[in-house]
């Protein structure tokens, strides 16, 4: 019944002990941000924010690649998925993200060949077994997922596949943290960095941020004990007036990251400016295919009229993603915006803050 290297980090007594330690050591109020949507999901699902003392405020960050995929990119995906010659492969997360007027689920219902895959490598296999069709893979993600998406392109190239392409929308974490820190009204005093992003990229790129903005950055995992220990490490630094990069996820994160994954990522992708849905354009915060791999770029392979698409004016996801607004405080939360009829991505993504609050807390606090 138990999962090794997972369940040990969900132990109730140890969780209680860590909460007490945080209570004892936090002598002043501190505002921390967990960057990664997966961490947000875990925090809300396990009620960690309810257990923490009032001195600690957790602000939810923009680390949800589903949430920040530009609305125009979703529309591009819908257009491609509707083409009869295309098999559109996607992670399950993207299926109900609203574009300008509908989502992939609707396109599938109308006959679009939309298939959920667990791995981008499965989409490559599909292209090999379906030579008469065009296989397009919706390649979204942060640095954790980008190397696997890159590998898919590398494999397609190696196997000489002429019917595989990706619709790519990748985002990078450090520029987003910098954009948040440099905003004049930033309240975040300490960061819990995304553990799995760092398993790939390492910790070095966070050093300049910690130094320049004088904020502690603690690389943190996803299980309750790991999140609490990341929070404790951050609090300890804040109480001591320190601002360093600290690795609280050392069982999987080395300071140099994963050189093989980084090499693959750099071989296939290069850094470019990127629009974040709800946040606007952030320089050097995205990844695009290198010109050597242009034939695997779905935006070049298939023409489209879709350009920049404006956001729904009612949706306040920008403020949610910046941590300026809690989901329950949004005027549309639970009324005009629900998981069935989302105005924006944070309400439909599994790790979107709005979805997490709606699902685990309901419309009103339960306790």
């Amino acid at each position: 019944m138990s999962l090794e290297h997972v369940d040990e980090y969900r132990d109730r007594k140890a969780i209680g002990a860590l909460v007490h330690a945080i209570e004892r050591e936090a002598t002043k109020p501190w505002t921390l941000m967990e960057v990664c949507g997966g961490q947000t999901h875990s925090i809300v699902r396990y009620g960690l924010d309810q257990l923490l003392p009032d001195t600690i405020e957790l602000v939810h960050g923009p680390g949800c690649p589903v949430c920040v995929t530009p609305i125009g990119m979703i529309d591009r995906a819908l257009e491609l998925a509707a083409r009869p010659e295309v098999i559109f492969c996607t992670f399950g997360d993207m299926l109900r993200v609203p574009g300008s007027s509908e989502d992939l689920y609707h396109v599938k219902a109308r006959g679009g060949d939309v298939r959920i895959v667990y791995s981008p490598l499965d989409a490559v296999e599909l292209a090999a077994t379906e030579p008469a069709r065009e296989v397009v893979f919706f390649a979204i993600g942060f640095e954790t997922t980008a190397p696997a998406n890159a590998m898919a392109v590398a494999m397609a190239e190696k196997r000489g596949l002429g019917n595989f392409s990706i619709l790519a929308s990748h985002v990078l974490v450090p520029p987003a943290i910098e954009a948040l820190l440099s905003a004049p009204d930033n309240r975040v005093q300490g960061f819990l960095a995304a553990g799995h992003v760092c398993a790939v990229m390492g910790s070095a790129e966070y050093e300049p941020l910690a130094r320049r903005y004088r904020v502690p950055i603690v690389i943190t995992g996803f299980e309750p004990l790991e999140l609490l220990s990341g929070i404790l490490a951050c609090v300890r630094q804040l109480e001591a007036g320190e601002a360093k990069v600290d690795n609280a996820y050392a069982r999987f994160v080395r300071s140099a990251g994963n050189p093989h994954a980084i090499a693959m990522l750099r071989r296939v992708f290069e850094v470019a400016p990127q629009t974040w849905r709800g946040l606007g354009e952030i320089p050097a915060s995205g990844l695009i295919l290198r010109s050597a791999f242009a034939r695997f770029d779905a935006t070049k392979r298939f023409s489209s009229d879709i350009g920049v698409v404006p956001e729904d004016p009612e949706c306040q996801s920008g403020d949610i993603l910046r941590g300026r607004l809690k989901p329950a405080a949004c005027t549309a939360f639970g009324t005009r915006c629900t998981p069935e009829n989302p105005l924006g991505a944070p309400m439909v993504s599994n790790e979107g803050a709005c979805a997490a609050y709606f699902r685990y807390r309901g419309l009103t606090p339960t306790t």
């Binding site: 138990s2 997972v6 969780i15 009620g47 599994n350 790790e351 699902r359």
Partner: protein, 358 residues
């Protein structure tokens, strides 16, 4: 002079390579042959032999209880069961959840043209086996054949009739504050077995679906003199959905400790890997029992011995668990205490749970 041979010869019997065609649904000789060869051969009883428009049944003691369900599972054959077994167990279980003894089933088939007759026979044999094991008879049925693309292979509907003795009806209105909430075994096996059988996710496992009739266990509780207030079998949407539906019907709070809900390793592994919540993963052979608080321990004992008997053939034995209690407030809600001690709300999913990577 040689006579021209008929371009559409009728086969003497349906051979194993034969496919169902639109002609088999036409009401003519081919349809008769299909019914005799495939259905009547397996569902053999006085009503099927009578072959009338309806089955004129025995009046049995107790109040009649009626239920219906349609089955569209894909793939049709999965580890531990198939659509036929599901079609019988699902409806038998719904009757048992009302405190009724299941007796009679009807069955309707919508078959896509091109469906293999051999597969149809397999499904029908499964139904006959499941019906025999549940002690029910399939007394009347219907068959339609539709064009290619209109039925995903095979759809089955079953309706079930059972009888419940006075005082033994189990229904939401009997649920009270202080009642104990139990689950008859570990959750999520069916959903994971089906996911693993579907190509595309690449999961490998020996796990079998938990598809099984629960009528025996439900009966055992009532016969043991346990004051059973309500039962609900778990199907699509899993344990959480069943609890949410109940909480809404009874307008009370169902409070559970999610660390007490049994989940076996294979289900946990698949769920964690794909980002699914085991509490929402499908089951087809488990039920929730809400009983008078004082009867909780005894209920657990009875469910445990039923589980032991049923586990004899299963890869991994299963065991019931006491998972929570009924409270006054917040009314209509399901609360789950998590491993951290904090509570989370269990709500309705908007649609089906999809694998995720984020």
């Amino acid at each position: 002079m040689t006579l021209p041979s008929c371009p559409l010869p009728l086969p003497d019997s349906l051979d194993e390579d034969a496919l169902v065609t639109l002609a088999h649904g036409g009401g003519g000789r081919l349809m008769r042959r299909l019914i005799e060869d495939v259905f009547a051969a397996e569902f053999d009883n006085q009503w099927m032999r009578e072959g009338h428009d309806g089955a004129i049944l025995e009046a049995l003691p107790g109040r009649p209880v009626l239920t219906t369900d349609s089955f569209v599972v894909s793939p049709l054959f999965f580890p531990g069961g198939d659509i036929g077994e599901l079609a019988v167990c699902g409806t038998v279980n719904d009757l048992a959840m009302c405190g009724a003894t299941p007796r009679y089933l009807t069955t309707g088939f919508v078959i896509e043209e091109g469906f293999s007759i051999a597969d149809l026979r397999r499904v029908v044999r499964s139904m006959a086996r499941a019906a025999a094991s549940a002690g029910v008879q399939i007394v009347t049925g219907d068959t339609k054949v539709v064009e290619r693309g209109k039925a995903d292979g095979l759809f089955i509907n079953t309706a079930g009739l059972g009888f419940v003795r006075d005082g033994e009806e189990t229904r939401p209105s009997r649920v009270e504050v202080g009642d104990a909430i139990l689950v008859s075994g570990d959750v999520g096996r069916h959903g994971v077995a089906v996911l693993a059988a579907r190509e595309g996710l690449g999961l490998e496992t020996d796990l079998l679906s938990d598809c099984a009739p629960v009528a025996g266990a439900a009966r055992a509780l009532i016969d043991a003199g346990i004051e059973v207030h309500c039962m609900r079998d778990l199907t699509r949407g899993g344990l959480a959905t069943a609890l949410v539906e109940l909480a809404t019907s009874v307008d009370l709070c169902l409070s559970i400790d999610e660390t007490k809900v049994p989940v076996i390793g294979a289900v946990r592994g698949a769920a964690e890997l794909l980002g699914l919540d085991p509490l929402y993963v499908a089951n087809e052979g488990r039920f929730v029992a809400i009983v008078r608080g004082a009867d909780a321990e005894r209920c657990l004992e009875v469910l445990a011995s039923e589980a032991q008997a049923a586990s004899r053939d299963a890869l991994t034995p299963f065991a019931p668990a006491l998972i929570g209690e009924v409270r006054q407030a917040p009314a209509g809600r399901v609360l789950a205490t998590t491993t951290t001690g904090a509570e989370r709300l269990l709500g309705m999913l908007s649609g089906e749970q999809l694998p995720r990577i984020c």
